[in-house]
C-alpha cells in the first residue's frame, strides 16, 4: 500500500485493540446512504518509476525556449545551494512553527528574513510572507483602509501602471468590503503615473499605490508622488521589485517620510519561474502600523535561562486567536519560499544582488537598443526603464511573438489586451541570465520576423 506501513497482522492487532472486526466498522457513524465505495475518475496507481517517466516527458515539452518575458516573474540565476538546503527534510516537511522550541531553525531563519527585507526596503518591520505579490497588494490595501479608519470613505488610488494581474487580484479580494479602487492613467510619453490635481480634495482617499518600477519597466517619480500623498493624508503603498530595490531608492526613503507600507513579489529572490508559483509576497511597514499587518511575524525573545530564542509573535492579530476580528484570514503562508529567498540573499549578498540588478538593466538596455534599430520596432516610452521596456511593433504582437517561437525565443508579453491604446505593444525583459549572444539572437530573430526572412537553420 503506497506510503502505508501496516501489515495485515498489525492491522488485525490494532482492530482487536479497538474492539472492532474491520476497518469498515470504524466508519459506522457515517450515514450509510452517503457512503461511496470507490472513485471512478482516479486512475490506478502508478509506480514512482512510471510517474517519473511521465513527468520527465511532460517537462521536456518546449523546455528550451529562451525567455524574454518579465511582466512580474523574472528569470534569475539561483545558486545550487538554495534549493539543496531548502528541500532538506527538516525545512521541507515541518509545519508552521507553533511549538517554538522544536522549530528554532525555521523561526531564526524567518527572523533573519524579516531583517533582510527591512534592510532592503529601509522599513522598520517585515512580516514572514504572504501568498504572492498580487495578494500582498490586496492585503496592503485592506491594511491601509484599517489604518485610516477616520476617513469618510474607503478609496484607494491604484494606477493603471500597476501590473494588471495584481489589479485584478486586488479587485477580487477587496471587492466585498466597500472599497473603491480608483484607476489613474499614465502619461503616454513617459509611461509614468499621472494624478489629476484635484483628486484628493475630498480627503477621502486612504492610500496611493506606487509601483516601482511600474509594469512598463518605467521608473516612477516616487519622491514627488509620496510627498503629494502625504500632504493629502494619504498613505503610500509601495509595490516594488526587490531586485530593482538593490539600486533604486528604497521605499523607506521615498519623499520626505517614506512609504508607509511596502509589498511585492518575492519571486526574483531565488524562486524558479515554475509556471507562476509557488512564489511569495513580502510586506514591510512602519512600526506604528505593525498591529494592522496581516500574516505571521517572528520575534526574538529569551528562554527561561535567558538564552536567545525565536517565536511567533503579535498573534493577537491572527485568525487563530482573534478569529473574526483578525487582520486577515491568512494561515498557511509561503514559508518554504522564504527559506529559499533567505538563503539566496545570504549567498548573493548586497554586492551580488546589485550586480544582478545592474546586469539586468544593462542587458535590457542592450536589447532594446538593438531591436529598436529594426524597421517597425520602436521603444514606447522616453523615460528610463529598469529591466523591462515596452516595444511597439508594426505588426500584430501575437503574430510576431508566435514567429519568434520558431527561433526558440519567448519574445515578451503581449500588452494588447490590457493596454489596447498602446497598439501592437509588448513588454520585454533581459535579465542577467542572458548573454550577449542571446541578445544578438533575439535581435536577429526580430529582424527576420519583421522582414519576413526565412528561418535560419539550426544545425551548423
Amino acid at each position: 500500500m503506497p506510503f502505508i506501513p501496516h501489515t495485515e497482522a498489525e492491522t488485525k492487532t490494532m482492530l482487536d485493540a479497538i474492539g472492532v472486526d474491520s476497518i469498515e466498522q470504524l466508519f459506522d457513524e457515517i450515514p450509510a446512504e452517503l457512503r461511496i465505495n470507490k472513485l471512478s475518475n482516479v486512475p490506478v496507481a502508478m509506480s514512482e518509476m512510471e510517474i517519473g517517466r511521465l513527468m520527465s516527458d511532460r517537462a521536456e515539452q518546449d523546455a528550451h525556449l529562451q525567455c524574454f518575458i518579465g511582466a512580474g516573474s523574472y528569470e534569475h540565476h539561483i545558486p545550487a545551494a538554495v534549493w539543496e538546503i531548502t528541500t532538506r527534510g527538516e525545512f521541507y516537511s515541518a509545519y508552521t512553527p507553533y511549538q517554538a522550541e522544536a522549530s528554532q531553525g525555521t523561526l531564526q531563519l524567518l527572523y533573519e528574513y524579516q531583517t533582510m527585507m527591512a534592510e532592503i526596503m529601509v522599513m522598520e518591520v517585515s512580516n514572514a510572507s504572504l501568498y504572492d505579490g498580487g495578494s500582498a497588494l490586496a492585503e496592503a490595501v485592506l491594511m491601509a483602509v484599517r489604518s485610516q479608519r477616520k476617513k469618510t470613505a474607503k478609496r484607494i488610488i491604484m494606477p493603471r501602471a500597476v501590473n494588471p494581474n495584481y489589479r485584478r487580484t486586488v479587485r477580487s479580494i477587496v471587492s466585498s468590503q466597500n472599497i473603491e479602487l480608483i484607476e489613474v492613467d499614465y502619461d503616454k510619453a513617459s509611461g509614468q503615473i499621472v494624478i489629476e490635481d484635484g483628486c484628493a480634495d475630498n480627503n477621502d482617499i486612504s492610500a496611493l499605490i506606487i509601483p516601482q518600477p511600474n509594469f512598463f519597466g518605467v521608473i516612477e517619480e516616487v519622491d514627488a508622488l509620496t510627498n503629494w500623498a502625504h500632504k493629502h493624508n494619504i498613505l503610500v503603498i509601495g509595490v516594488v521589485n526587490p531586485i530593482a530595490m538593490q539600486l533604486l531608492k528604497a521605499p523607506g526613503q521615498w519623499g520626505e517620510s517614506g512609504a508607509d507600507i511596502v509589498c511585492g513579489e518575492g519571486q526574483p529572490l531565488g524562486i524558479p519561474l515554475s509556471s507562476g508559483g509557488p512564489y511569495f509576497g513580502f510586506m514591510c511597514c512602519k512600526e506604528k502600523f505593525v498591529r494592522q499587518m496581516p500574516g505571521r511575524i517572528i520575534g526574538r525573545t529569551v528562554d527561561v535561562e535567558g538564552k536567545q530564542g525565536f517565536s511567533l509573535t503579535l498573534q493577537a492579530r491572527e485568525q487563530h486567536i482573534r478569529r473574526s476580528k483578525a487582520t486577515s484570514n491568512i494561515c498557511t503562508n509561503q514559508g518554504l519560499m522564504v527559506t529559499a529567498a533567505t538563503i539566496h540573499m545570504s549567498l548573493l549578498g548586497a554586492d551580488g544582488l546589485a550586480r544582478v540588478a545592474a546586469a539586468s538593466h544593462k542587458n535590457t538596455l542592450s536589447l532594446i537598443t538593438a531591436i529598436s534599430k529594426i524597421d517597425g520596432v520602436k521603444v514606447a516610452f522616453n523615460n528610463p526603464c529598469f529591466h523591462e521596456s515596452v516595444i511597439q511593433l508594426a505588426r500584430p504582437a501575437s503574430e510576431v511573438l508566435d514567429e519568434l517561437i520558431q527561433y526558440g525565443i519567448l519574445g515578451g508579453y503581449d500588452l494588447s489586451k490590457d493596454y489596447p491604446e498602446l497598439g501592437n505593444a509588448i513588454v520585454i525583459c533581459a535579465t542577467e541570465t542572458k548573454t550577449d549572444a542571446d541578445i544578438a539572437a533575439y535581435s536577429e530573430a526580430m529582424h527576420a520576423v519583421m522582414h519576413d526572412l526565412p528561418i535560419a537553420s539550426n544545425d551548423q
Partner: protein, 483 residues
C-alpha cells in the same frame, strides 16, 4: 548566532553574480539609492553551514512523529518534490502561451478532474494558494450567487464554535458577519441552536466534516436541509478530507462549495509554514463564479480559462495559477496513490486514530467525546490533570518534545478545555504510535512524581521554554547591529 553576525564588510561571494558591476550611469542619480542594504556578507560555505545547522534545530515529518491535529502531517513523498522540480518545469514562465506549456497544463487538468471525483463536485478551480484563500473564494462565490439573484439581505455566515479561526475571519473578509453556533455534548452541531439562528439573513454555513472535534457530523443531511430551505448555501472546509477520502463525498452530503487543503490531504509539504494549495470545488449552481484561471481541454490541447471566458467569475486570487508547483506535487501524489490508494488513506488514518484513542484511554487519559468514534483525529482533555496536578496541556506538550515527538495541537478547538487534538495520519506505523502512547503514559507518571520538572519542560531542545509575553511586549522583529 545569526547569519548577520558572520558577516564581514567587503566580503564577496563572486561565483554567484555577474563578474562585473554593469554601468548604470544612464539612470538619473535622483532615483538611485545611496547605501546598499546591509545584507550578510558571508561566504558560500558560511551560508550552507549556517542554514544546514539551523535546519537541524527543526522537528519535521522527515525526522519525527508529528501528530499535530488538523494539520495532517503525513509523509511527503520525495518523488513529488523531485519530479515537480524538473528543470523543464521550473523554467516555464507563467505568461508562456498555453500552447507552449502543455506539459504543465496536462498535469493541472488531470488534477482538476481527480479532485472533482474525490469531492463529488461539478467543477474545480485550482488557483487558491492555501486553505484560507480557498475559503475566501468559496464564501465570495456564495456572495456572488446571492448577489446575482439580487438577494441582498443576506448578511451572516454561520460558523460552529469549534470551527477553525480562518472560517470566521474569511466570512468577515467577504463582508459578512460571522455568527457562532454552539456544539452539543457529543460534538455535533446543536440543531436547535442552528434552527434558531437561521433566517433570511443567512448567506450560508461553513462546516468541517469530520469536524475539528474529531468526529463525523452525523446529522449533516438535516443541517443541509435547514440551510438550503432558508436559502443559504453550505460551505465545506476540506481541511479534514483525509478522514473520508473515497468514503463519502462533500458533494453527496449536500455541500455547495468546498476547499481542499492539498498540503494536508494530498501530502504536499508544509515547508515550515507553507506553501499550500487550496483548490475549490462547486456544485452546478456556483460554477459561473469560480475563480480564474482554470484549465480546460479541447481540440487535443489544454487551454487556460480566464476572465474573458467567465464573465461572472469572482476573479483572480493571484497573478497566475496559484501555487502551481504545489499542484504538481499533489498531482504526482494522486497518481502514486491511484484510486485504491486514496481510499486506503482514510482507512488507515482512521484506524491509527482509533487505535491511539483506545490505547490512551487505557493509559488513563480522558477523551473529550468518549462515546464517539475517532475519525482521523481525536481530542483528549487534560482538564483533570490541570486541576489535580497543576500541569497544563501546554506543559505536557512541551514535555512530549523531550521524548522526541512533536506535540499534538493544543488548545484548539477552544471549546474543549486543556485539549490535545491528536492526528497520527496513515503513514505512521504501529511502532511509532505505540512509542508515543508509552511516552504519554510515562509523562503522566512524571506529572505525579515530579510535576515541577514537567512544568519546566522542554529540557533537551536547543532552547528551554521561551518567553512569549516578552516577545510581544518588547518587540524585536528585525536585527540591528549593536542592539
Amino acid at each position: 548566532m545569526l547569519i548577520f553576525e558572520h558577516s564581514v564588510d567587503k566580503r564577496r561571494n563572486p561565483s554567484q553574480s555577474p563578474r562585473d558591476m554593469a554601468d548604470i550611469s544612464d539612470l538619473p542619480q535622483s532615483c538611485l539609492r545611496e547605501t546598499a542594504p546591509k545584507l550578510p556578507a558571508v561566504s558560500e560555505m558560511q551560508t550552507v553551514r549556517h542554514y544546514t545547522r539551523l535546519s537541524q534545530k527543526n522537528f519535521s515529518i522527515d525526522t519525527q512523529f508529528y501528530p499535530l491535529g488538523s494539520c495532517t502531517m503525513k509523509y511527503n513523498p520525495r518523488a513529488c518534490n523531485k519530479y515537480a522540480m524538473l528543470p523543464g518545469l521550473l523554467r516555464k514562465h507563467p505568461l508562456t502561451p498555453a500552447k507552449y506549456n502543455q506539459g504543465t497544463l496536462a498535469c493541472l487538468y488531470e488534477l482538476q478532474e481527480m479532485l472533482k471525483d474525490v469531492t463529488g463536485m461539478k467543477e474545480v478551480s485550482l488557483s487558491p494558494m492555501a486553505g484560507a484563500q480557498g475559503e475566501f473564494a468559496g464564501v465570495a462565490m456564495i456572495r456572488a450567487y446571492h448577489d446575482a439573484r439580487n438577494d441582498d439581505v443576506r448578511s451572516e455566515i454561520l460558523v460552529p464554535d469549534a470551527a477553525h479561526g480562518t472560517n470566521p475571519a474569511t466570512a468577515v473578509m467577504c463582508g459578512y458577519k460571522a455568527r457562532e453556533i454552539p456544539t452539543d455534548k457529543n460534538g455535533d452541531v446543536d440543531l436547535d441552536a442552528l434552527r434558531a439562528a437561521v433566517g433570511p439573513q443567512t448567506a450560508g454555513i461553513m462546516l468541517t466534516n469530520p469536524s475539528t472535534l474529531g468526529v463525523f457530523e452525523r446529522k449533516i443531511a438535516e443541517i443541509a436541509k435547514i440551510i438550503h430551505e432558508a436559502g443559504g448555501l453550505l460551505y465545506y472546509d476540506g481541511a479534514n478530507l483525509n478522514a473520508i477520502l473515497g468514503k463519502v463525498r462533500p458533494g453527496d452530503m449536500g455541500f455547495d462549495v468546498i476547499h481542499m487543503n492539498l498540503h494536508k490531504t494530498f501530502s504536499t509539504p508544509h515547508g515550515g509554514g507553507g506553501p499550500g494549495a487550496g483548490p475549490v470545488g462547486v456544485s452546478e449552481r456556483l460554477v459561473p463564479y469560480l475563480p480564474v484561471p482554470m484549465v480546460t481541454y479541447d481540440d487535443k490541447s489544454y487551454r487556460i480559462i480566464s476572465e474573458d471566458d467567465c464573465p461572472n467569475t469572482i476573479g483572480r486570487l493571484s497573478a497566475h495559477m496559484g501555487n502551481t508547483g504545489v499542484l504538481l506535487r499533489a498531482y504526482i501524489y494522486a497518481r502514486l496513490l491511484g484510486a485504491e490508494g486514496m481510499v486506503r488513506v482514510a482507512d488507515y488514518a482512521t484506524l491509527n486514530a482509533n487505535y491511539m484513542m483506545v490505547r490512551l484511554k487505557e493509559k488513563g487519559f480522558d477523551m473529550a467525546y468518549p462515546e464517539r468514534r475517532a475519525t482521523h483525529e481525536f481530542i483528549l482533555t487534560l482538564k483533570k490533570q490541570a486541576k489535580e496536578l497543576g500541569v497544563t496541556a501546554m506543559d505536557i506538550a512541551k514535555r512530549i518534545l523531550d521524548y522526541g515527538f512533536h506535540a499534538p495541537t493544543t488548545y484548539f478547538p477552544l471549546l474543549v478545555p486543556e485539549c490535545f487534538l491528536i492526528e497520527p495520519t496513515e503513514t505512521e506505523s504501529k511502532y511509532e504510535l505505540d512509542a508515543f502512547i508509552e511516552a504519554m503514559a510515562e509523562i503522566l507518571q512524571e506529572c505525579h512524581r515530579d510535576a515541577e520538572m514537567v512544568k519546566a519542560a522542554p529540557h533537551t531542545l536547543p532552547v528551554r521554554r521561551l518567553d512569549d509575553v516578552r516577545a510581544a511586549r518588547q518587540l524585536d522583529l528585525v536585527w540591528k547591529k549593536n542592539a
